[in-house]
Symmetry: C2
Subunit: 340 residues, 2 copies
């Protein structure tokens, strides 16, 4: 079926090892034979069997990636693009898996599939929700290739890349305060999500430091969807008719809030200022254009793969796993008309 080294060797009148050397640009080979072999390779359309190579080399040059939620909002795809680009640029292939649910704790089948295929490393790009990180234990990690976690709460001994959600939320709230707002409500994502809690804490800390009200009546919980944002702001207005601004945990919920304001005939930002989080590509075209917090998600993906690459190289050199590190990127506020 497929052309093999043997076929090429036979045609070129050399040994398989010689062909192998040509294929891998190894050591010195006489120009003459090299050319002869190369001609044979092209004539036969030879392509090396990476599986066989991996078997003997004990490395698959493949990285595994686990993700979730590509279809629901804009974040995961952007992270994935960064991951894929960096994987490709480093010469790896990418094995890809989605979890059916983000808080799935039944992750062993996924991990086993990766191990069975002898991937060189794993990028775990799932949000931290509830207990879904509990499987990460030293004894389990020992039987796995190096792993880098994306968007998980940093923990000693683990390699983690994440956005500093707290700092991002603080920027957003600080901006509202600077605009003269004093009654600042918040629509959080699900409190089971670490990222969501961080954004909430950023809201709370900033208000408290400024000596402003951060009481529970200013807080409602959404589920990231625009519908929950709409529901959320209705509830907020009921609890606290005096609010002058709202910080939403993501752009979708902010969008839902905008819609409710329109249908109530309220003016934005005149009556109420609204700020989101994420800076989805459309945010600048919402009505009014949405002030939000831009996250370097593609960069996060790239950095995660770079870290992983280092861990892999380190383990190969017998360094008993290079010191794991944590990288937190600080997002950037993007001011638009919904708040100014």
């Amino acid at each position: 079926m497929h052309v093999t080294l043997q076929d090429v060797a036979k045609l070129a009148g050399v040994s398989t090892k010689t062909v192998s050397r040509v294929v891998n640009n190894q050591s010195e080979i006489s120009q003459a034979t090299r050319r002869r072999v190369q001609a044979a390779i092209e004539q036969l359309g030879y392509r090396p069997n990476i599986l066989a190579r991996s078997l003997v080399n004990k490395r698959s040059d493949t990285l595994a990636v686990v993700a979730w939620g590509l279809e629901f909002y804009g974040g995961p795809p952007r992270v994935l693009v960064g991951i894929e680009q960096q994987i490709f640029e480093l010469g790896y292939s990418m094995l890809f898996s989605l979890l059916p649910r983000p808080d799935d704790t039944n992750i062993n089948p996924v991990l086993d599939a990766f191990v069975d295929r002898r991937v060189d490393g794993i990028v775990w790009a799932l949000p931290e929700i509830g207990d879904n990180h509990k499987w990460v234990k030293p004894e389990r990690l020992k039987s796995l290739p190096p792993i880098v976690f994306v968007s998980m709460e940093p923990r000693p001994g683990l390699s983690v890349v994440a956005i500093d959600n707290r700092a991002g939320a603080a920027q957003a709230v600080r901006h509202l305060i600077d605009q003269g707002r004093r009654k600042i409500g918040v629509i959080t994502g699900p409190t089971t999500w670490w990222e969501s809690r961080e954004r909430y804490e950023g809201w709370k800390d900033t208000l408290q430091c400024a000596g402003l009200d951060a009481s529970p009546s200013l807080v409602v919980e959404g589920d990231w969807s625009a519908a929950s944002g709409a529901q959320g702001i209705r509830q907020l207005l009921e609890q606290r008719p005096d609010i002058d601004s709202v910080f939403a945990g993501n752009d979708q919920m902010a969008l839902g809030a905008l819609g409710v304001m329109h249908s109530l005939g309220r003016n934005i930002p005149g009556d109420i200022a609204i700020v989101g989080f994420d800076d989805v590509p459309e945010a600048g075209f919402y009505w009014p254009p949405l002030t939000t917090v831009y996250q370097q998600l593609t960069e996060i993906g790239r950095i995660a793969v770079q870290m992983l690459h280092k861990l892999i190289k380190a383990r190969r050199q017998g360094q008993d796993d290079a010191e794991p590190s944590t990288i937190l990127l600080t997002p950037q506020l993007v001011v638009r008309a919904s708040s100014a």
Copy 2:
């Protein structure tokens, strides 16, 4: 490093072949030895090396997927989710690649990487743009595993799954006509895109059949972005101040158009009705909620993989490639306030 069949065999006091039988649930084995072997497997934490297995079986149980544009709009991620789910459910692993540019004609490195890894099949999930399908020739395909194309113009001899964009656009325009609109402009995607041309043709055919104006002054070309939608409607209003509605080639461009209408103080749908295409999750929360065309993108992904699976099985049984087929899914109009 890794536990092998040999290790298990030694511990259980049997031959490697016996262990292999247990691992693969093969033929009859005495309960006694089976249990003994299984105990050894668990004790050692044995995991089969799929690479070695693939080498001898001449099948990797891996499907390759090529995509593009995950970060720009909502379509590709939804297709990808369907692809991944179906791949997983059929017991394959998924090798994943993104192209840096969708109209890249330099696809040989990508294909080679797949062939080198002996993938069992390929899902080519790239939009058809310009000449980017020209590499698909019988002689090239012969040296490749089975391929299914997603969102490409159907061609004899190829397996293609796509949305019937023309029918979708026709539904949208027909709806506008039914609402009493008579001067219906269109903001198309890039005309280099097959999908975009199809939607344009749907617009044109429907208007012509209804005896309405479909002249070039009613047409502007965007690039799928919200910004181009904004630019597009400005240009349309200049060319044809008399338009009473606009069909946008996707939801992003429709969103851009909505924004311009707001800033001009025009009423939607009173002054101008607007219809999009895609039904992104947020479309129902745009202001006003956007009438648009829902595409079964996840379904497209699943169907593509199912077709691929059949092609693979057929080729294994020596059927000289099962008859390739084309599947066109008809999208569904979703009526919201922007047009009614």
